[in-house]
């Protein structure tokens, strides 16, 4: 140290006073906003379920009549029975397959296990309604493969429009959840435990049965409860597959009762919604208890098992690899191809070769029909604006929750996580009522903002789930260093934490964009002429028997999602580099 530099007076350069915003003000505003958005739609729903007449009609009284009507309806009990069978079957199939895939890809020498680990997640990004339409096109009662097998080969055939059929589809859609849960549990456990069993003389199957599976038990239980809760609120599958067999699940029963009711906005539908809300909330509360707070969001470190040798499947390697590959092809690829094919033909049938039925009219209709075009632009606007606003809001709320001294900060994480636990259709009914009952609701009731708010609130949890782990990884000394140099809470958040979080903010925005674009159940009751979105338009046209254009619209949705994810992956990579 030879350089001698003169340094200013002991006091240093003083911070200028008065230019600072006290942190608690904006923090309180964000908190109040969050409470209004999350709790706001649920209280009016409860109120509506307890009134004899809809809110806007004069002379209603408090009554349990809504609940009585519901319990007197045999169709309700039929829907409850169907839903329970459906949910149990879905859970069993999904968890069994997800755990098996996780073990095969994570602990054995299965050929192609890396690429399978990615491809198995495909149902997460494929628009759910598009996937359902694809399944119907291929495996439905008059589906292409169904026809091929039954008419041409005269073999006994499956029935997708049945409880087991719907459960198979639901399981295929939810397998990414069980796969990911089991995979991360496996990644977090030391392979030395399995190596120890092998050195004690256990063969691969014994190791899996005696060591790997018991270690996975908490993860399996955890995703089973989650998938069961999700299965209880399934709407799309029932609306697309149920009609031929007159099958209803809980959510589709509520949807139809609401749309077909002679009395407008009947109280018993709200009552049904409240009941489902209570059941699902309790289930997820139980799950959270099992998990121990928020630990599940923190990525478990993969231990460096350098000496780890994957379990050898021996002669089962190729057959098992073929089976996994076939599963991916049959559940994701073939339905997608069926969807594309369906969008290009007059009718999809095995009686006439598809190229004789080729038509561009479906696409022409999507391109020219006002409703179709408007739903695409509306969906894009809502996804882009809603995604951006949600990410900004959730980012600030997450920083308040975990990096501030705000008095009520501990209430923020549950508030951010809860909306995902509310079944979509119920959140929709809730927002419908709150826009009617709460004064400012009138400003958003009849335009895109109403749908935007419902879809954003529904998916707020996803943004939190992406942002929080990244924030938790930022050493708290980063913000302390900023505070020590004189920055207040808000300046620290804006200039230090949010810029460091940029890659995960972009990731959160992409996830929000894709999910909002694909989502539909919170807005089925909010859509008005002029505010159509892709999902609801597909539902409504499908119910009118319009098939080809709906498939074309689904293909558009798939294309938008793949383009956005393609661009996004690049954006995240370059943001990480900066």
């Amino acid at each position: 140290m030879s350089t001698v530099v003169t340094v200013d007076a002991p006091t240093g350069i003083r911070a200028r006073r008065g230019a600072r915003i006290p942190a608690s003000g904006p923090q309180a505003v964000v908190w109040i906003g969050l409470v209004v958005l999350v709790v706001g739609p649920l209280l009016p729903l409860l109120y509506a379920s307890l009134r004899s007449k809809p809110y806007y009609l004069p002379g209603g009284v408090f009554t349990l009549q809504g609940y009585r009507t519901l319990f007197d309806d045999p169709a309700f009990w039929q829907a409850v029975r169907n839903t329970l069978q459906f949910a149990v079957l879905t859970t069993v199939l999904s968890v069994a397959a997800g755990a098996a895939f996780a073990i095969l890809c994570g602990r054995t020498n299965l050929p192609g296990r890396r690429i399978y680990s990615t491809l198995l997640l495909a149902p997460v990004v494929i628009p759910p309604l598009g996937l359902i339409v694809g399944w119907v096109a291929v495996y439905g009662q008059s589906g292409y493969l169904t026809g091929l097998v039954s008419r041409n080969l005269h073999l006994p055939v499956w029935n997708l429009s049945s409880i087991p059929g719907m459960a198979v589809l639901a399981a295929a859609v939810t397998i990414p959840i069980s796969f990911l849960t089991c995979q991360s549990a496996l990644a977090g456990t030391d392979t030395a435990l399995e190596d120890a069993a092998r050195s004690a003389g256990a063969g691969p199957l014994q190791v899996i049965a005696r060591v790997t599976l018991p270690m996975l038990r908490p993860a399996i239980l955890n995703c089973a409860v989650l998938i069961f809760a999700l299965a209880l609120e399934v709407l799309g599958i029932a609306l697309f597959l149920g009609p031929p067999a007159h099958l209803d699940l809980y959510a589709s029963y509520l949807y139809k009762s609401w749309s077909d009711s002679v009395v407008p906005d009947p109280a018993f539908v709200s009552a049904g919604a409240v009941l489902l809300l209570v059941v699902v909330s309790l289930l997820l509360l139980v799950r959270n208890r099992m998990l121990g707070a928020e630990q599940r969001f923190i990525a478990t470190a993969v231990r460096g098992g350098g000496s780890y040798q994957p379990l050898d499947l021996r002669r089962w390697r190729r057959p098992l690899s073929f089976l996994v590959g076939a599963f991916i092809v049959l559940t994701s690829l073939v339905p997608l191809l069926g969807l594309v094919l369906m969008s290009c033909v007059k009718a999809l049938t095995t009686l006439v070769a598809p190229w004789h039925l080729f038509t561009s009219s479906n696409w022409h209709q999507v391109a020219t029909d006002v409703t179709f075009r408007r739903s695409i632009t509306n969906s894009l606007i809502i996804a882009a604006v809603g995604g951006a606003i949600t990410v900004a809001f959730v980012a600030v709320a997450t920083v308040i929750a975990h990096r501030s001294k705000f008095v009520l900060r501990r209430t923020i994480p549950p508030l951010l996580v809860y909306p995902r636990a509310v079944p979509g259709i119920i959140l929709g009914i809730g927002f419908f009522w709150s826009y009617l009952m709460i004064g400012p609701g009138a400003y958003v009731r009849n335009n895109l903002w109403g749908e935007l708010i419902a879809l954003s609130v529904r998916n707020i949890t996803l943004a939190y789930v992406v942002i929080y782990p990244s924030l938790a990884r930022i050493n708290e000394e980063m913000d302390r260093a900023a505070r020590a140099t004189g920055a207040g809470w808000w300046t620290t958040t804006r200039r230090i934490l949010l810029p460091i979080l940029r890659p995960s903010l972009i990731a959160a925005f992409l996830l929000m964009f894709v999910t909002i674009l694909n989502d539909y159940d919170p807005v089925v009751f909010l859509q008005k002429p002029g505010t159509e979105v892709i999902g609801v338009t597909m539902l409504q046209y499908w119910q009118q028997g319009v098939v080809g254009p709906v498939a074309a619209l689904a293909v558009v949705q798939v294309l938008i999602v793949s383009v956005v994810l393609g661009i996004g992956a690049r954006a995240i990579r370059s943001a990480r580099h900066a």
Binding site: M1, G12, R14, R16, R480, T485, G486, R495
Partner: protein
């Protein structure tokens, strides 16, 4: 530069008392180290001074500014304390360049662009990082990151510098260099400095005074020499360097001697004690002499010897006690009469 006063600072986490009414003063331009094992409360104390932790009780002041006074309900926010801090992880913001990191405190203080530019260049030159202004943190080595952290802490010329184990992420050689360099810088700038470490060598080399802490209490405050030669407390002697402990009874006379079961003639000690009291004395391993002369003292048996480069460390059995002895040559198994010269043994409690 200001002085720092800490008075009756107390903090608990649940039932565990992490700070038990500690008080000390850091004088103007002084380099004071808080030394102790992990969990002793040293970092809690530093973070309380910085304002990131709020003790339940106590007073902290810096110059004529009161940072914390629990009785008067004064608690100045961390960002208004105008201190320079270097964190253990350095906490260099990854999204800003080296210059951006150093400029941040000046931008917060709304300095004009030209002042900021000049000051950033000046401070980066001071830490010998002028050539790296445009780099991003991930392009720097650990030692360079530490310098940037220091430059950022010094950017707005704070009078007080707080350092939280800043060398713990550096390798041994670099650590020694960084230590010399920091000492020089602190001296040149005349900064009042509080330094936290669990490394006694670091504490010895850098400090004007050391505050030895354990279990939320201050055991001893003094210069490095005082701490080493007159630890006063057995835990201090144990923590700072190696030490042998012997117990015995005081026999006052012309000189004060302690009679132990091993040393029937007694060992001459410094300090005032009452006759007949039972005491513990501490003797450093390098202060013990071994000799072939039976008159020098009782004979011990050699257990083992290790070569440590600049000296030999041997374990000896003497009666019921085990002694550690440092010698410059390998001890001769025939010359193991233990002699403790007058004045090297000190009383501890």
């Amino acid at each position: 530069m200001p002085d720092i006063r800490v008075e009756r600072l107390a903090k608990s986490y649940g039932k565990q008392r992490v700070l038990d009414e500690i008080s000390f003063t850091v004088r103007d331009k002084e380099f004071v180290t808080l030394l102790g094992p992990s969990g002793c409360g040293k970092t809690t104390t530093l973070m309380s001074i910085a304002g990131f932790l709020t003790p339940e009780q106590g007073l902290i002041s810096c110059g004529d500014v009161t940072f914390l006074d629990t009785d008067a309900r004064v608690n100045v926010a961390a960002e208004r304390r105008n201190l320079g801090i270097v964190f253990q992880s350095y906490a260099i913001w990854p999204h800003l360049t080296v210059a951006g990191n150093v400029a941040f405190p000046l931008k917060i203080r709304r300095q004009n662009k030209r002042t900021i530019k000049a000051r950033v260049a000046e401070v980066l030159d001071l830490v010998e990082m002028g050539d790296y202004a445009g780099r991003y943190p991930h392009q720097l080595s650990g030692g360079q990151q530490q310098r940037v952290a220091l430059a950022r802490a010094l950017a707005y010329s704070p009078g007080v510098l707080l350092l939280d184990e800043p060398f713990s992420n550096l390798d041994a050689k670099l650590r020694e260099r960084a230590r010399d360099w920091l000492k020089q810088l602190q001296h040149d700038l005349g900064l009042t400095t509080v330094f936290v470490t669990h490394d006694q060598d670091e504490a010895m080399a850098l400090s004007d005074r050391i505050v030895v802490m354990s279990a939320g209490q201050i055991l001893r405050v003094g210069t490095p020499e005082e701490i080493y030669r007159e630890p006063a407390d057995r835990r201090v002697a144990e923590f700072v360097g190696l030490c042998n402990f012997l117990t015995g009874t005081v026999r006052a006379g012309v000189e004060c001697r302690v009679i132990t079961s091993e040393f029937a003639d007694g060992i001459a000690v410094r300090g005032e004690v009452t006759d007949g009291a039972d005491v513990t004395i501490a003797v450093r391993p390098e202060d013990i002499a071994l000799s072939a002369d039976p008159g020098a003292g009782p004979e011990a048996t050699l257990l083992d010897t290790s070569f440590l480069g600049d000296h030999y460390q041997s374990r000896l059995a003497l009666g019921d006690v085990e002694l550690i002895v440092h010698t410059s040559t390998r001890p001769d198994p025939d010359a193991l009469h233990v002699h403790i010269p007058p004045g090297v043994a000190t009383l501890v409690t």
